[in-house]
Amino acid sequence: MKLASPPGTCAVRLRACRRSFRTPDGGVYVALDAVDLEVRAGEFVALVGPTGCGKSTLLNLVAGLLAPDAGQVEVFGSPLEGINRRAAYLFQQDVLLPWKTAEENVMLGLVFRRLPREEARRQARAWLERVGLRGFENRYPHQLSGGMRKRVALAQNLIVNPEILLMDEPFAALDVQTRQLMENDLLRIWQEERKTVLFVTHDLEEAIALSDRVVVLSAGPAARPVGEFPVDLPRPRDVTEVRLDPAFGELFRRIWELLRGEVLRAFRISA
């Protein structure tokens, strides 16, 4: 597999980004403020933080679905305008089209790129096989389990060969076993493709098990990164086994010390 981009370059850079929203009662809520963040090409970065701290907002800024009020988002060195064409986005919610089969859903990105149908179909089959869904090509989403639907969504995103993969708590709704299988599959595919990944989660264990670097976001309002922790656990990893590594426990303690304060702060603000 070829590398998505030369290593060492900066895939995503946020400079002093700020984003606010209008509240229903006419006020202004500042979700993110003074956010600086860099993600190197080929790096797997996990973003953790208390609920409602603006993790999804940050991801939407990088995706280009939202524009910052102030500051700048750069993608591979150039300022981002509109949708980020070099990124794919795996949503937390179910976003497959219910009237299309698994195969047709996976094909979608290629159809939008005007590839011939037969070629798109061939690639979709190959991707479904890679995510372990051979034989399920003609099933409709409602005929698949939650884990299978996530696999289809993953294939749907990877088929367009994005340089950056944005993931917003993609496995949050899955049961523990399915989730660990999916995490291992994600790591295996990432190992082969070396995409740049920005992975949002509120589960610290998941963040450490998957990533090269964990970034902790403060509690909102005006959330921003307050800590960075490189994860130098050996790869390839198995998400279940890596948790038994003493270094994992040590890292968890260090990050949790910081994260706990933010979680408590978020709790006090919302309560």
């Binding site: 995706a63 794919a88 986005y89 976003v95 089209l97 219910p98 979608l108 159809v111 939008f112």
Partner: protein
Amino acid sequence: MPSGFPPDRRWGLRVVQAAVLVAFLVSWEAGSRLRWLDPFFFSRPSSVAERVARWFATGEVYGHISVTALETLLAFLAGSFLGVVVGFAFAMSPALSRVFDPYVKVANAMPRIVLAPIFTLWFGLGVLSKVAFGVTLVFFVVFFNTYQGVREVDRNVLNNARMLGASDRDLVRHVLLPSALVWILSSLHTSVGLALVGAVVGEYLGSARGLGYLIQQAEALFDTTGVFAGLVVLAGFVLAVDLLVSFVERRLLRWKPPSHVEEVL
């Protein structure tokens, strides 16, 4: 099948259903023969059956059926097309929907039957005035469902398609239109039914052909048997149309979880 009846007991249901019909017809026939019911006002099933059989034997009824079928089809197609186009435009442009909102509400609340005489004046006694009348009925059902269908599309689904590289045209074709189609299909029975109502009522109010005309003619001659015979033919026609709609619906909604598709017995 989620009908509540396992296959072996569905036959039992059919027998009971048939028994209800037979009991009704027998008591009608007996009541009429024993003079409990005046045959002039109530006719009797045997006379009605005889009349229906004669209509089909001489072939005179086919022309009426085909005219009504044509009017129904045209009203359904034209009403649906306009409903989809306008529904889409309103859903995509909040300004448009805000300006026209009161007019749409008034037009929909008005009993459409008052328009029938005007349509007869404008479009004559032929097919066109019935189609126009049917369109006013079908349009609103399809319009509201399209509007709703487009508006209710999940934001994340739209964003997902955008991230995958969909252009605005792709969004309409692959996401918005299919989503609206689900709503339109769910009201298919209603809109086809209304197209048929438009055709028959239009014929009844003024025409020279069609099932509504047939019934109106019999009524004008105090021919009760003719009225009931017309109703029987109309009922058979409605049933055939409804079966066709169910078939189309099942084909187009194959992807839906079964609990969402209403099973017609």
